[in-house]
Protein backbone atom coordinates (compact mmCIF):
# COMPACT_ATOMS: atom_id res chain seq x y z
CA UNK A 1 0.00 0.00 0.00
CA UNK A 2 1.27 3.45 -0.91
CA UNK A 3 -0.04 6.89 0.14
CA UNK A 4 -1.74 6.93 -3.27
CA UNK A 5 -4.63 5.11 -1.65
CA UNK A 6 -5.45 8.30 0.22
CA UNK A 7 -5.69 10.12 -3.12
CA UNK A 8 -8.03 7.42 -4.42
CA UNK A 9 -10.20 7.82 -1.31
CA UNK A 10 -10.17 11.60 -1.75
CA UNK A 11 -11.36 11.30 -5.39
CA UNK A 12 -14.13 8.90 -4.34
CA UNK A 13 -15.31 11.23 -1.57
CA UNK A 14 -15.15 14.25 -3.89
CA UNK A 15 -17.27 12.45 -6.50
CA UNK A 16 -19.84 11.42 -3.91
CA UNK A 17 -20.06 15.05 -2.80
CA UNK A 18 -20.48 16.21 -6.40
CA UNK A 19 -23.27 13.67 -7.00
CA UNK A 20 -24.93 14.82 -3.80
CA UNK A 21 -24.89 18.44 -4.99
CA UNK A 22 -26.56 17.29 -8.23
CA UNK A 23 -29.32 15.12 -6.76
CA UNK A 24 -30.27 16.68 -3.42
CA UNK A 25 -32.59 19.67 -3.19
CA UNK A 26 -32.50 20.64 0.46
CA UNK A 27 -30.19 23.65 0.67
CA UNK A 28 -28.63 22.51 3.96
CA UNK A 29 -27.85 19.04 2.61
CA UNK A 30 -26.38 20.67 -0.51
CA UNK A 31 -24.14 22.64 1.77
CA UNK A 32 -23.03 19.49 3.57
CA UNK A 33 -22.11 17.95 0.21
CA UNK A 34 -19.94 20.99 -0.52
CA UNK A 35 -18.28 20.51 2.87
CA UNK A 36 -17.58 16.89 1.94
CA UNK A 37 -15.90 18.02 -1.29
CA UNK A 38 -13.76 20.50 0.65
CA UNK A 39 -12.79 17.74 3.06
CA UNK A 40 -11.77 15.45 0.20
CA UNK A 41 -9.56 18.21 -1.20
CA UNK A 42 -8.01 18.68 2.24
CA UNK A 43 -7.21 14.97 2.43
CA UNK A 44 -5.47 15.16 -0.94
CA UNK A 45 -3.50 18.22 0.23
CA UNK A 46 -2.33 16.53 3.43
CA UNK A 47 -1.33 13.41 1.48
CA UNK A 48 0.62 15.42 -1.09
CA UNK A 49 2.31 17.26 1.78
CA UNK A 50 3.55 13.91 3.04
CA UNK A 51 4.65 12.74 -0.40
CA UNK A 52 6.62 15.95 -1.01
CA UNK A 53 8.09 16.04 2.48
CA UNK A 54 7.15 19.66 3.16
CA UNK A 55 4.48 21.07 5.42
CA UNK A 56 3.03 23.46 2.80
CA UNK A 57 0.16 21.09 1.99
CA UNK A 58 -0.90 21.01 5.61
CA UNK A 59 -0.80 24.83 5.73
CA UNK A 60 -3.05 24.93 2.66
CA UNK A 61 -5.46 22.46 4.26
CA UNK A 62 -5.49 24.67 7.33
CA UNK A 63 -6.36 27.76 5.29
CA UNK A 64 -9.03 25.78 3.42
CA UNK A 65 -10.60 24.95 6.80
CA UNK A 66 -10.60 28.62 7.82
CA UNK A 67 -12.27 29.63 4.56
CA UNK A 68 -14.77 26.77 4.94
CA UNK A 69 -15.69 27.98 8.42
CA UNK A 70 -16.33 31.52 7.15
CA UNK A 71 -18.28 30.13 4.19
CA UNK A 72 -20.50 28.00 6.42
CA UNK A 73 -21.33 30.97 8.65
CA UNK A 74 -22.42 33.14 5.71
CA UNK A 75 -24.10 30.31 3.81
CA UNK A 76 -26.20 29.16 6.74
CA UNK A 77 -27.18 32.76 7.49
CA UNK A 78 -28.38 33.11 3.87
CA UNK A 79 -30.28 29.81 4.10
CA UNK A 80 -31.93 30.98 7.32
CA UNK A 81 -32.91 34.25 5.64
CA UNK A 82 -34.42 32.40 2.65
CA UNK A 83 -36.24 30.06 5.00
CA UNK A 84 -37.60 32.98 7.01
CA UNK A 85 -39.05 34.69 3.94
CA UNK A 86 -40.07 31.62 1.86
CA UNK A 87 -40.83 29.05 4.60
CA UNK A 88 -38.84 26.45 2.67
CA UNK A 89 -35.23 25.32 2.47
CA UNK A 90 -35.59 23.64 -0.94
CA UNK A 91 -33.45 25.09 -3.70
CA UNK A 92 -36.24 24.38 -6.23
CA UNK A 93 -38.54 26.86 -4.51
CA UNK A 94 -36.10 29.76 -4.80
CA UNK A 95 -36.99 30.57 -8.41
CA UNK A 96 -38.31 34.10 -8.06
CA UNK A 97 -35.91 35.54 -10.64
CA UNK A 98 -37.15 33.08 -13.25
CA UNK A 99 -40.39 34.83 -14.10
Amino acid sequence: MTPMWYIVLATVLFSIGAVGVLIRRNAIVLFMCIELMLNAANLALVTFSRINGTLDGQIMAFFAMVVAAAEVVIGLAIIMLIFRTRRSASVDDANLLKY
Binding site: M1, T2, P3, M4, W5, Y6, I7, V8, L9, T11, V12, L13, F14, S15, I16, G17, A18, V19, G20, I23, R25, N26, I28, V29, F31, M32, C33, E35, L36, N39, N42, L43, V46, S49, R50, I51, G53, T54, L55, D56, Q58, I59, A61, F62, F63, M65, V67, A68, A69, A70, V72, V73, I74, L76, A77, I79, M80, F83, R87, A89
Partner: protein, 248 residues
Amino acid sequence: MSGVETGEAVAFFLLAPLSVIGALGMVMARNAVHSALWLVLTMLSLGVFYIVQAGPFIGMVQIIVYTGAIMMLFLFVLMLVGRDASDSVIETLRGQRVVAIVLGVGLAGLLGLGTYRATQGLAVTGLDEANKAGNVQGLARLIFTNYVFAFEVTSALLITAAVGAMILAHVERRRGERVGQAAKMRERFLPGNYPGPKAGPGVYATSTSVATPAKLPDGSPAPRSISPILPTRELTAAEKANKHTEGR
Protein backbone atom coordinates in the same frame (compact mmCIF):
# COMPACT_ATOMS: atom_id res chain seq x y z
CA MET B 1 7.75 7.03 8.22
CA SER B 2 8.19 7.60 4.51
CA GLY B 3 6.48 4.41 3.46
CA VAL B 4 3.27 2.99 4.84
CA GLU B 5 3.61 0.70 7.81
CA THR B 6 1.32 -2.18 8.66
CA GLY B 7 -0.50 -0.31 11.42
CA GLU B 8 -1.28 2.53 9.11
CA ALA B 9 -2.50 0.16 6.41
CA VAL B 10 -4.83 -1.51 8.92
CA ALA B 11 -6.15 1.88 10.07
CA PHE B 12 -6.66 2.95 6.47
CA PHE B 13 -8.53 -0.14 5.35
CA LEU B 14 -10.72 0.00 8.44
CA LEU B 15 -11.56 3.69 8.23
CA ALA B 16 -11.67 4.27 4.45
CA PRO B 17 -14.83 2.10 3.97
CA LEU B 18 -16.35 3.82 7.00
CA SER B 19 -15.74 7.25 5.53
CA VAL B 20 -17.17 6.19 2.15
CA ILE B 21 -20.21 4.72 3.93
CA GLY B 22 -20.60 8.00 5.81
CA ALA B 23 -20.46 9.98 2.58
CA LEU B 24 -22.97 7.70 0.84
CA GLY B 25 -25.24 7.78 3.87
CA MET B 26 -25.14 11.56 3.88
CA VAL B 27 -26.19 11.73 0.23
CA MET B 28 -28.89 9.08 0.57
CA ALA B 29 -30.45 9.84 3.97
CA ARG B 30 -33.91 11.37 3.64
CA ASN B 31 -33.74 13.23 6.93
CA ALA B 32 -31.28 16.13 6.99
CA VAL B 33 -30.32 15.43 10.62
CA HIS B 34 -29.30 11.88 9.64
CA SER B 35 -27.25 13.37 6.79
CA ALA B 36 -25.41 15.58 9.27
CA LEU B 37 -24.64 12.64 11.56
CA TRP B 38 -23.33 10.55 8.63
CA LEU B 39 -21.10 13.44 7.63
CA VAL B 40 -19.69 13.57 11.17
CA LEU B 41 -18.57 9.94 10.72
CA THR B 42 -16.73 10.82 7.50
CA MET B 43 -15.09 13.87 9.03
CA LEU B 44 -13.91 11.97 12.12
CA SER B 45 -12.32 9.30 9.88
CA LEU B 46 -10.58 12.02 7.88
CA GLY B 47 -9.26 13.53 11.13
CA VAL B 48 -7.72 10.17 12.02
CA PHE B 49 -6.17 10.00 8.53
CA TYR B 50 -4.53 13.39 9.06
CA ILE B 51 -3.09 12.32 12.41
CA VAL B 52 -1.81 9.05 10.90
CA GLN B 53 -0.18 11.01 8.06
CA ALA B 54 2.12 12.93 10.43
CA GLY B 55 -0.23 15.90 10.80
CA PRO B 56 -1.44 15.82 14.41
CA PHE B 57 -2.23 19.54 14.44
CA ILE B 58 -4.34 19.51 11.28
CA GLY B 59 -6.08 16.34 12.50
CA MET B 60 -7.03 17.96 15.79
CA VAL B 61 -8.18 21.11 13.96
CA GLN B 62 -10.29 18.90 11.71
CA ILE B 63 -12.00 17.28 14.68
CA ILE B 64 -12.46 20.50 16.66
CA VAL B 65 -13.40 22.87 13.82
CA TYR B 66 -15.27 20.56 11.46
CA THR B 67 -16.99 17.98 13.63
CA GLY B 68 -17.14 20.31 16.62
CA ALA B 69 -18.02 23.75 15.34
CA ILE B 70 -19.24 23.46 11.75
CA MET B 71 -21.41 20.37 12.19
CA MET B 72 -22.90 21.81 15.38
CA LEU B 73 -23.76 24.94 13.39
CA PHE B 74 -25.43 22.72 10.77
CA LEU B 75 -27.45 20.90 13.43
CA PHE B 76 -28.37 24.22 15.03
CA VAL B 77 -29.75 25.54 11.74
CA LEU B 78 -31.56 22.25 11.12
CA MET B 79 -33.25 22.58 14.50
CA LEU B 80 -34.25 26.17 13.67
CA VAL B 81 -35.60 25.18 10.26
CA GLY B 82 -37.56 22.40 11.93
CA ARG B 83 -39.68 19.62 10.48
CA ASP B 84 -39.40 20.87 6.93
CA ALA B 85 -35.78 19.69 6.90
CA SER B 86 -36.53 16.36 5.19
CA ASP B 87 -36.33 16.21 1.43
CA SER B 88 -38.96 15.13 -1.04
CA VAL B 89 -38.03 12.20 -3.27
CA ILE B 90 -40.01 13.32 -6.32
CA GLU B 91 -37.73 14.09 -9.25
CA THR B 92 -38.46 17.43 -10.89
CA LEU B 93 -36.24 16.62 -13.87
CA ARG B 94 -36.75 13.13 -15.28
CA GLY B 95 -33.67 10.93 -15.14
CA GLN B 96 -31.70 13.55 -13.24
CA ARG B 97 -30.60 11.08 -10.58
CA VAL B 98 -29.30 8.49 -13.05
CA VAL B 99 -27.44 11.12 -15.06
CA ALA B 100 -25.95 12.56 -11.88
CA ILE B 101 -24.72 9.15 -10.72
CA VAL B 102 -23.22 8.38 -14.14
CA LEU B 103 -21.50 11.77 -14.08
CA GLY B 104 -20.19 11.09 -10.58
CA VAL B 105 -18.76 7.71 -11.50
CA GLY B 106 -17.19 9.28 -14.58
CA LEU B 107 -15.68 12.07 -12.51
CA ALA B 108 -14.25 9.58 -10.01
CA GLY B 109 -12.76 7.52 -12.83
CA LEU B 110 -11.29 10.53 -14.56
CA LEU B 111 -9.77 12.04 -11.41
CA GLY B 112 -8.53 8.67 -10.13
CA LEU B 113 -6.94 7.64 -13.45
CA GLY B 114 -5.41 11.08 -13.95
CA THR B 115 -3.79 11.24 -10.54
CA TYR B 116 -2.76 7.59 -10.77
CA ARG B 117 -0.93 8.15 -14.06
CA ALA B 118 0.57 11.44 -12.91
CA THR B 119 1.89 10.09 -9.63
CA GLN B 120 3.03 6.65 -10.72
CA GLY B 121 6.47 5.87 -9.36
CA LEU B 122 6.55 9.05 -7.32
CA ALA B 123 9.05 8.88 -4.47
CA VAL B 124 7.45 9.36 -1.06
CA THR B 125 9.65 11.64 1.03
CA GLY B 126 7.69 11.56 4.28
CA LEU B 127 7.46 14.29 6.87
CA ASP B 128 10.14 13.06 9.29
CA GLU B 129 12.55 15.80 8.29
CA ALA B 130 9.92 18.58 8.26
CA ASN B 131 8.49 17.48 11.61
CA LYS B 132 11.86 17.22 13.34
CA ALA B 133 11.23 20.21 15.61
CA GLY B 134 7.60 19.19 16.10
CA ASN B 135 4.62 19.42 13.80
CA VAL B 136 3.11 22.51 15.45
CA GLN B 137 6.47 24.30 15.49
CA GLY B 138 7.06 23.52 11.80
CA LEU B 139 3.59 24.77 10.84
CA ALA B 140 4.01 27.90 12.96
CA ARG B 141 7.34 28.70 11.32
CA LEU B 142 5.73 28.43 7.87
CA ILE B 143 2.60 30.41 8.81
CA PHE B 144 4.58 33.31 10.23
CA THR B 145 7.18 33.43 7.46
CA ASN B 146 6.11 32.28 4.00
CA TYR B 147 2.35 32.48 4.57
CA VAL B 148 2.16 35.51 6.85
CA PHE B 149 0.27 37.57 4.25
CA ALA B 150 -2.33 34.84 3.73
CA PHE B 151 -2.62 34.58 7.51
CA GLU B 152 -3.31 38.31 7.83
CA VAL B 153 -5.84 38.22 5.01
CA THR B 154 -7.56 35.35 6.85
CA SER B 155 -8.25 37.65 9.79
CA ALA B 156 -9.92 40.14 7.44
CA LEU B 157 -11.98 37.29 5.97
CA LEU B 158 -13.12 36.10 9.39
CA ILE B 159 -14.13 39.60 10.48
CA THR B 160 -16.03 40.13 7.23
CA ALA B 161 -17.81 36.81 7.71
CA ALA B 162 -18.78 37.69 11.29
CA VAL B 163 -20.12 41.11 10.27
CA GLY B 164 -21.92 39.59 7.28
CA ALA B 165 -23.60 36.95 9.41
CA MET B 166 -24.72 39.63 11.87
CA ILE B 167 -26.18 41.76 9.06
CA LEU B 168 -27.95 38.76 7.51
CA ALA B 169 -29.41 37.64 10.83
CA HIS B 170 -30.47 41.14 11.88
CA VAL B 171 -34.17 42.03 11.64
CA GLU B 172 -34.69 45.75 11.23
CA ARG B 173 -37.48 47.30 13.34
CA ARG B 174 -38.57 50.86 12.77
CA ARG B 175 -39.04 53.22 15.71
CA GLY B 176 -42.80 53.33 15.28
CA GLU B 177 -43.20 49.56 15.31
CA ARG B 178 -41.49 49.17 18.67
CA VAL B 179 -43.90 48.27 21.47
CA GLY B 180 -43.11 50.03 24.73
CA GLN B 181 -43.46 48.70 28.25
CA ALA B 182 -46.58 50.75 29.02
CA ALA B 183 -48.36 49.52 25.90
CA LYS B 184 -47.39 45.93 26.71
CA MET B 185 -48.82 46.21 30.22
CA ARG B 186 -52.03 47.82 28.98
CA GLU B 187 -52.45 44.97 26.49
CA ARG B 188 -51.79 42.42 29.23
CA PHE B 189 -54.54 43.70 31.56
CA LEU B 190 -57.05 44.30 28.77
CA PRO B 191 -60.35 42.48 29.25
CA GLY B 192 -60.30 39.10 27.54
CA ASN B 193 -56.66 38.46 28.35
CA TYR B 194 -55.78 36.48 31.45
CA PRO B 195 -52.77 38.25 33.04
CA GLY B 196 -51.62 35.50 35.38
CA PRO B 197 -49.32 32.59 34.60
CA LYS B 198 -50.81 29.61 32.83
CA ALA B 199 -51.64 26.52 34.83
CA GLY B 200 -49.29 23.55 34.65
CA PRO B 201 -50.34 20.25 33.08
CA GLY B 202 -52.30 17.75 35.12
CA VAL B 203 -50.52 15.36 37.46
CA TYR B 204 -52.50 12.18 38.01
CA ALA B 205 -51.80 8.82 39.53
CA THR B 206 -52.02 7.30 36.04
CA SER B 207 -50.25 9.99 33.99
CA THR B 208 -47.83 12.83 34.55
CA SER B 209 -47.45 13.59 30.84
CA VAL B 210 -47.15 17.25 29.76
CA ALA B 211 -49.86 16.43 27.22
CA THR B 212 -52.39 15.67 29.97
CA PRO B 213 -54.58 18.70 30.65
CA ALA B 214 -55.23 19.85 34.18
CA LYS B 215 -58.80 19.65 35.45
CA LEU B 216 -60.84 22.71 36.29
CA PRO B 217 -62.98 22.70 39.50
CA ASP B 218 -65.99 21.46 37.52
CA GLY B 219 -64.02 18.49 36.17
CA SER B 220 -63.56 19.73 32.60
CA PRO B 221 -60.03 19.84 31.15
CA ALA B 222 -58.30 23.24 31.25
CA PRO B 223 -57.20 24.14 27.70
CA ARG B 224 -54.63 26.67 28.93
CA SER B 225 -52.67 24.05 30.86
CA ILE B 226 -51.18 22.33 27.80
CA SER B 227 -49.07 23.58 24.93
CA PRO B 228 -51.01 24.04 21.66
CA ILE B 229 -48.36 22.21 19.62
CA LEU B 230 -48.75 18.97 21.59
CA PRO B 231 -51.42 16.43 20.65
CA THR B 232 -53.86 16.39 23.54
CA ARG B 233 -53.88 13.14 25.46
CA GLU B 234 -57.49 12.13 25.95
CA LEU B 235 -58.32 11.07 29.50
CA THR B 236 -59.95 7.69 29.82
CA ALA B 237 -63.26 7.39 31.62
CA ALA B 238 -61.57 5.91 34.68
CA GLU B 239 -59.12 8.79 34.83
CA LYS B 240 -61.84 11.37 34.34
CA ALA B 241 -64.02 10.02 37.13
CA ASN B 242 -63.62 11.45 40.61
CA LYS B 243 -61.53 9.23 42.81
CA HIS B 244 -63.52 8.15 45.84
CA THR B 245 -60.91 8.68 48.51
CA GLU B 246 -63.47 9.45 51.23
CA GLY B 247 -64.39 6.64 53.62
CA ARG B 248 -61.71 4.20 52.50
